[in-house]
Symmetry: C2
Subunit: 210 residues, 2 copies
Amino acid sequence: MTAPERISKRNAIRQEMEARILSAAEKVFAEAGFGGATMQLIADMAGLPKANLHYYFATKEELYRKVVRQIFEIWLHAADSFDNAPGPVEGIGAYIDAKMDISRRHPFGSKVWASEVMHGAPVIQDYLETTLREWTSGRAALIQRWIDEGKMAPIDPRHLLYMLWATTQHYADFGHQIETLNGGRALSDRQWKAAKDSVKAIILKGIGAI
Amino acid sequence: MTAPERISKRNAIRQEMEARILSAAEKVFAEAGFGGATMQLIADMAGLPKANLHYYFATKEELYRKVVRQIFEIWLHAADSFDNAPGPVEGIGAYIDAKMDISRRHPFGSKVWASEVMHGAPVIQDYLETTLREWTSGRAALIQRWIDEGKMAPIDPRHLLYMLWATTQHYADFGHQIETLNGGRALSDRQWKAAKDSVKAIILKGIGAI
DNA sequence: TCGTTTTCTGACCGTATGGTCAAGATCACG
DNA sequence: CGTGATCTTGACCATACGGTCAGAAAACGA
């Protein structure tokens, strides 16, 4: 694919810089939205002058686009757990686990994605229409197969997928609300496990897989 | 409660103006976020000069606050269907129906709320800590009672509530994504009904209520 | 070491935004 | 009809923002 880049101090610096900027940008975009985020704030959080930030990412939109695609890639990868599963209990169970873990580990990315979609997906509409559409069709077909094989109740696969996305991402996107209702404290390890188990229990039982 | 306002041309104009502005603001805030929304755009959409908009709502934040509280009130009202229900099938079923209807009827308000919470609820944090916290505790207790009475499986009531919120609001907040995956067309009456039925079927069965 | 390329940075610029203001238009009411 | 209150509006202002640029500093390859 890409030519194997020479290892040099320059390349190392570049990689580390881009990662630091992307991380800062993810956080700022998540907390302020695209419109509310400022290049100055991102630069400050990444610890470099604004002009230097513009050297690595020419425009705000280019930086934003990179951030959005990053979380999308992570989610696509998480769906691997879906495949090669003998049935819904393993496949959907593993998918819920994976998506819940991502919600905990990448709450900012999830929020940026949510914000992007809510605003009409101006930047990643093409992804929705190609990659996501194909992905969804494929998994819907897989779920339908499970239904045909009698491994779960006859449920519209698409609405099930929406439910999986909604429920798992809610713990990232509405994390602040959940935290507030949890007495102002972030969910503990134990509570995250309880959340995962609740979600899995209700959905797997709800689709007649257990 | 409030003193019965005299009916005059002025009062009528004021009410109609405020409603028109709030409606326009809801849409603009939903589509651009608080930071991306401009008073000029809201004014244009409401059909009046920007200076006149500032006459009715002194600051952007004041206008935004009104919009956020509006959707919150609507949701609180929808929860009435929860009460006075003999059991989870009726109570939760009616709640899902109500919230799904709101998602269809007020998608902009839902998005504004989601955006607000995602950004750390800077404007309605007090609501979260008072009204919402009380509301949640009350419903959680009600669900627990149903569990104790053997009307449903023993599930953490809070995670069930999160699931209800997540799933129903997803159809508003991620409506654009759903529309794209639906071939670019908004969900039809029939499809909305299918969505409602799917959600209700999975959750009610998942909690062992049916 | 020397010339070239890449990286860094303070100063700067045009524009758009939230908000103000003063003067005019419209309405309420005695 | 006249007077005060409410409403409307174009012009205006200070600020903050995204983005530019010229030149300094550092890294590279020979």
